[in-house]
Symmetry: C2
Subunit: 504 residues, 2 copies
């Protein structure tokens, strides 16, 4: 390799390192604002966040970046894999940010922020007409952006690619169709089942401090490293990886429903295990994070559902839960407890949905977004289409748009193409689980013993360590020997919920 | 004003805003590292801090900055006062950073970091010879820097100016001399006094949580705004102003000595009141912070000593302290309590010194630094000179260099000229207090009632609100009608300690 290329490569790495540094600083400010930052400082802090974010945006589209890409792209094959990936990521971002005329992008950013404000008001008042003109403009802008960016096969693919590289409409139509066709009848059967679990004991008073102590125990059990993280309280829980040595989990406590904190913490803990176990070699580069929204979600859902809602897991942890609670479980059998925490019923609100029905909420949104960007659905018809689909898939119908089409913030922020990742997370998780038990046939025994290290190690080996070095479907294919397949999730759900609801 | 100047002015403000944003992000990372950041993330976090710091350094010396200064300085008189101050500050920093050849500065930074490591080891082993070559180099570098920077009157003035603009050797020789001549005999008298306060009850067990609750009460009482701040635990307590709406206080708890947390919190609270009450007009600019180390220290010391160690303050708060403690004060009279918390005895360690003897520790360091930079003292002679001065001023002699010349980190970090600020803080505080009671003659009554708002408001009016808009001695002169005068501190200490120790 020529010396000048080596030199450029080093400078490029330095440059990328700086971008990572900005990201880490921004991440800490985000975490701080959402945990304990004093409220009077928030306005100025937002200014600071805005300023550093635009700095980062400028770095991603600067002439310096362009020069690195122009010089290194042609000699890709002479470069190490990490540099190759770095170029690929930066090129993608460069194209995405650079292809939109600056004036148009500025206009769009203003619209976004206005739309979010308007959406909040519209949701409150359940008034879709108030939000409609904003949504129409957001869709129109996004369509123009797709034209700038270009697309392959389907316009919506370009949006999907931002969150789940490699996943296309072709893939999703297949897997979501398969899933829908198997879940919908299951959901309907359950609605009619007479074996509804008793759940009243779940809602008795559970003091916050005890929930916290129990959550900490469980976090420790799943392998969360407290020397590389901490648990804090917040309003909308999240996990954030600042670097692999500093991955923070947040949760919220509801003294009338301990499940919020405990399953929430396990969920965020799953995200955190991903970020804590990325290879140290990627530290300080933009590759040192989860490879996609969907794979990230697969890790949180793996722990929440395949560990946290698993019967074996509670064999020993139920006694622990009893220790920390104030007596409400004392006369409840483990089996009844297990059925209670796996209750499933159709609901209108996505973020309150259970493991079984969740995917249907996503499939509805996917079908609508796909229609919107292929000119098959118009914004004005959304409320009616939304309500019809809820009726068809879940058997319930929103009584107003606030609990219907207006419930999520995503569209107000222009985040079209994001929703599918949530459902992909479920499918990836089920598919990974299937592969895992081939390597770890005594999976259930490990859970019974609370010995979760082998589980975490398997996920680190196959998923965590790679960060952004492998694409989502690359990981799935390498681990499972096939592409995305909805059958594993469908089988798991069918088997589990048939038992929980004693279906024949 | 020409349009092009207006435009440059706006761009300059934008540029300064960005520098402030970096500073705020750095501040948060600093706070986080010293409060609850997980330890495994610290190494990478330090990288990030390093990267953002150099970015900030580069901004302060960039061609862009040079161009702003070149264009705006000649039209100073046409600009508003805030822009003038901004130019002045940026010019000063530009000169300081730019006049040193880059290669020499890099060499110095490496030396600094090596010296700090070596100092730690040398202090541990009480081995001055181990640290000596590093200190010699640091002094030599600093002397060369002074040559680059230039100086007026005395070489040491250049160093003083970095921490306490406007304060010179001429000023300090006078005030430190005055102070020393009055305090030394007082300290000697007290050593011989037979009226030593009883203090054993101070060291009984005081649970951490209760110390914290009491500290929070006191913080509230002095006017600390919890919507613009928070209290956390740390190892080396500090206060930090990220912006006026986010000023954080930290403390540490010693269950065998509650004074550490309570007086520490009041002290840091004083710093915090300063930063919380800077005018919102300065928000987001580099002028939005304390004007100097010394004035900052005057605010913390005002609250620690003139409020926290004041007899009137405890008239009502002693009952509160009793409520929070576990009985150790129940049979102790207020007067005995007051004498106990104002015990004074010569000690070897600066950071453990009391209000009366503290200034002597500083004066010793001042005399030594002045000698070093005027070629009157050589590094090799420091241990002996140090020990002689301690004997002369405080009547005690270190038994080894670990508790002598090696005790402070400042020199290892190259921070020559910093020490005097601490003693200036005492003098400023006493001088401000004298001016305050002319406006608020019922000062003692207010303390008795716990009504501290007028005190805080007075300090905000005369000190806090100005941020860096006024220089230290400008503030003192405007408030008190005269320059720095050590007599107020000397009088206060003489009167107070004569009473506490029943001297005649």
């Amino acid at each position: 390799m020529k010396e000048s290329i080596l030199e450029t490569k080093d400078q490029f790495h330095e440059y990328a390192k700086k971008m990572s540094a900005y990201n880490e600083a921004l991440g800490l400010m985000f975490w701080d604002l959402r945990t304990g930052a004093p409220k009077n400082g928030a306005e100025q802090r937002s200014e600071v966040i805005g300023m550093l974010s635009s700095e980062l945006f400028e770095m991603s589209t600067s002439n310096e970046m362009a020069a690195y890409l122009a010089k290194l792209s042609p000699v890709m094959d002479q470069l190490d894999p990490m540099t190759q990936k770095l170029i690929e990521e930066c090129q993608k971002e460069y194209d995405r940010n650079k292809k939109i005329p600056a004036s148009e992008y500025r206009e769009y950013v203003v619209l976004q922020s206005k739309a979010e404000g308007k959406w909040e008001e519209a949701k409150e008042k359940a008034d879709f007409d108030m939000f409609k003109p904003y949504l129409e403009k957001l869709v129109a802008f996004t369509k123009r952006f797709i034209d700038y960016w270009g697309y392959e096969g389907n316009k919506y693919n370009t949006l999907l690619d931002m969150y789940e590289p490699g996943v296309t409409v072709e893939v999703l139509d297949k897997v979501f169709g398969d899933l829908r066709d198997q879940i919908v009848p299951l959901v309907h059967k359950i609605s009619k089942s007479e074996h509804k679990p008793k759940t009243d004991f779940l809602f008795e008073h559970f003091p916050k401090e005890r929930q916290k102590d129990f959550s900490l125990k469980i976090l420790e059990q799943i392998g969360y490293d407290f020397n590389s993280g901490r648990l804090d309280e917040t309003v909308h829980p999240f996990a954030i990886g600042l670097n692999p040595g500093d991955v923070r989990v947040t949760t919220k406590y509801d003294e009338k429903d301990w499940r919020t904190a405990v399953f929430g913490t396990i969920h965020e803990g799953g995200h955190a295990l991903y970020e804590q176990n990325i290879s140290k070699d990627l530290m300080g580069t933009p590759l040192c994070t989860g490879t996609s929204m969907g794979i990230h979600e697969s890790q949180s859902l793996f722990y929440e559902n395949f560990v946290g809602r698993n019967h074996s897991f509670w064999k020993q942890n139920y006694a622990l839960l009893k220790d920390y609670s104030t007596g409400q479980f004392d006369s409840v059998e483990l089996d009844d407890f297990y059925r209670a925490i796996n209750e499933s019923k159709p609901s209108l609100i996505r973020i309150e949905a259970d493991e079984l029905t969740y995917a249907l909420h996503i499939i509805i949104r996917y079908e609508i977004e796909k229609g919107l960007f292929n000119d098959e659905i118009e914004v004005k018809d959304l409320p009616e289409i939304w309500n019809q689909k809820y009726e068809e898939y879940l058997g319930i119908r929103p009584s107003h748009n606030g609990e219907g089409v207006l419930q999520d913030v995503h569209w107000a922020g222009g985040s079209f193409g994001y929703f599918p990742s949530y459902a992909l997370g479920y499918m990836y998780a089920a598919q990974l689980k299937r592969a895992m038990v081939e390597d770890i046939p005594h999976y259930e025994e490990l859970l019974e013993k609370g010995d979760l290290a082998p589980v975490r190690e398997w996920l680190t080996e196959h998923v965590h360590q790679w960060g952004k070095m492998k694409k989502p479907l690359e990981i799935i294919r390498e681990v499972t020997g096939e592409g995305l397949n909805a059958q594993y999730l469908a089988d798991y759900l069918t088997e589990k919920y048939s038992k929980v609801y004693s279906l024949n």
